[in-house]
Symmetry: C2
Subunit: 62 residues, 2 copies
């Protein structure tokens, strides 16, 4: 399975925000994330970088 974990950058730390993310949709105000179970989260953040082979998405606020 090719889901990824989304981390929110908080200073120098990266805090796990959501596991097993399948879908990411940027919107004007932030990002909608949907995990493989269909659970949705919305966050006022943008994508800082992502590395699909490492299953890793880093988000940053604002």
């Amino acid at each position: 399975m090719c889901e990824a974990n989304a981390y929110l950058k908080d200073g120098v730390e990266e805090v796990l925000f959501m596991e097993a993310v399948d879908i990411i949709e940027p919107h004007d105000e932030g990002l909608k994330l949907v995990d493989i179970y269909g659970k949705q989260k919305f966050i006022r953040a943008s994508i800082k970088d992502m590395n699909l082979l490492n299953h890793r998405i880093v988000l940053e606020k604002g």
Copy 2:
């Protein structure tokens, strides 16, 4: 492997822009994409949506 293909939305069509994308880094002016072989492409576009289980990233210009 969990790489994805990046498509660029062009009107109603979605045209393959880059295969086997591993890394995506948004910058002020656009996106840097790096494929699993290390090849880099830069595009003045943003992420419209992505679906990791389908290995599919859709970009849009501007």
